[in-house]
């Protein structure tokens, strides 16, 4: 019951999805769309579980007066405030995403600056890492260095000001060798995902049950 039923559910769900792909007629035709809707609904409940786990972990830290409890309090407050303004927006405007909704205030002045700054911060660390990693030790390392420099210079006005070679070379690198290797890696990863999916459906891979 604890292992056989989940294995059966996994097999049947995956099996019907594959059948609906090859048999686009009733009763299988609409099955893929229906299962995707169900998937979105179940994922929504899983999200609730995840937020609950985050909430409990930080609440525990506050109750036990552990180090960083004030930061945990800020996390919980921001989480609760976001949820409350989301609900207010839904009740008052019919959608939390209405431009007048207080939820959009949190999004515009909270999430956007935090997210953009967090990613902008990475610019410094990527640049610092590249200073250490980009050494022309051998031929392939030199290729890495040269293509990175060409792409960086080719994408800014100063590159074109130095020479028209940089924007043209940048475009060629992105469209031909970069695309070729990326495509090779992606095809390999997709084939790997197919084989892993088969292992899951056939019950060979069961780690998700532990």
């Amino acid at each position: 019951m604890k292992r056989t039923v989940p294995l059966l559910i996994t097999f049947l769900t995956g099996f019907f999805l594959i059948v609906s792909f090859f048999v686009p007629h009733e009763p299988f035709g609409q099955l893929e769309q229906r299962l995707l809707v169900w998937f979105a609904i179940v994922s929504g409940f899983a999200m609730l579980l995840g937020v609950d786990s985050l909430f409990r972990a930080h609440l525990r830290r506050i109750i036990r007066a552990r180090e960083g409890r004030w930061h945990s309090l800020a996390l919980l407050l921001s989480l609760v405030v976001t949820l409350v303004v989301g609900i207010i927006g839904f009740v008052k405007f019919g959608s939390p995403f209405h431009m007048q909704s207080p939820f959009m205030f949190v999004y515009t002045y909270g999430i956007i600056p935090l997210q953009a700054t967090m990613f902008a911060l990475l610019a410094f660390y990527i640049a610092s890492a590249s200073y250490r990693a980009f050494r022309a030790r051998n031929t392939v390392a030199t290729l890495l260095l040269v293509s990175a420099v060409i792409v960086m210079l080719g994408r800014v006005p100063i590159g074109a000001a130095i020479s028209q070679f940089f924007p043209v070379a940048q475009e060629w690198i992105m469209d031909v060798p970069q695309l070729a290797a990326k495509r090779g890696i992606q095809i390999g990863a997709a084939l790997g995902a197919v084989s892993m999916s088969l292992r899951i459906l056939l019950g060979i891979e069961r780690s998700y049950l532990s």
């Binding site: 604890k2 039923v5 989940p6 559910i9 996994t10 769900t13 995956g14 999805l17 229906r34 299962l35 169900w38 998937f39 979105a40 609904i41 179940v42 994922s43 929504g44 409940f45 899983a46 999200m47 937020v51 609950d52 985050l54 930061h71 800020a74 996390l75 919980l76 407050l77 989480l79 976001t82 949820l83 839904f90 949190v106 999430i111 600056p113 935090l114 700054t117 967090m118 911060l121 990527i126 590249s130 290729l143 293509s147 990175a148 800014v156 060629w172 992105m174 031909v176 695309l179 070729a180 495509r183 090779g184 890696i185 095809i187 997709a190 995902a193 197919v194 999916s197 899951i200 998700y208």
Partner: protein, 211 residues
């Protein structure tokens, strides 16, 4: 939003931006505060997003608007979702494997059909382009095809990389290194673009130093 609200919002955004940038000096309590706020608002945002765009229209409104079998069959995902919450009770926590198994099944099913139809086949189709003569387009098509094949062969580890396979793997690593370098440059420029955006916000919207 009123002008006072926008002013408060701008100062709040300015504080949060500077708090995150303070990490450049060193890890400090103000950065940690902003980091925790980020986690809190993000978790709240995504929960509201999923509830509003997925659960509410698909389950609740669907149940209200549909009729017959279409209405009652929605009880299945609703029940699976509620069973997912059985993890809150240790005695019934094992039941949550059922909805997890369902989501894994959907993922695995799509992993086969969507990957093959939406990924492998179109990518192969886009790779095997015609060679129409001695021109630059044809040359690029040949380079693209050689690059894709040799990159895949580089990751083929079932045979030692010797002889023809070794030679092709060496060509593959050339493409891979050029690709990694280009991806690095592309990512760095995207991050710098974000950095310019944040600095512009600080100097323009917050401090009005520049227009």
């Amino acid at each position: 939003m009123g002008s006072t609200t926008m002013l408060i919002g701008t100062w709040l955004a300015g504080f949060l931006t500077l708090a995150i940038f303070s990490f450049l000096y060193k890890d400090n309590p103000v950065y940690k505060l902003a980091e925790h706020i980020y986690v809190g608002v993000s978790a709240g945002y995504w929960l509201i997003y999923v509830a509003f765009f997925d659960v509410y229209p698909m389950l609740i409104q669907g149940f209200q608007n549909e009729t017959g079998l279409e209405k009652w069959i929605l009880l299945v995902p609703g029940a699976l979702g509620l069973i997912m919450l059985s993890r809150w009770f240790p005695k019934t926590a094992w039941l949550s494997r059922w909805p997890i198994a369902f989501t894994v099944g959907v993922g695995a099913g799509l992993g086969i059909t969507a990957n093959l139809q939406g990924y492998v086949m179109p990518q192969m189709q886009a790779t095997l382009l015609p060679v129409t003569g001695w021109n630059i387009v044809s040359l690029n098509n040949v380079i693209l095809t050689v690059g894709v094949i040799t990159t895949i062969l580089y990751f083929y580890f079932s045979k030692p990389h010797k002889g023809a396979l070794g030679w092709m793997a060496r060509v593959g690593i050339v493409f891979i290194m050029v690709s990694f370098g280009a991806s690095f440059g592309y990512t760095l420029m995207a991050r710098i673009s974000l950095l310019i955006g944040r600095l512009y916000f600080l100097l323009s919207d917050l401090l009005h130093v520049i227009d």
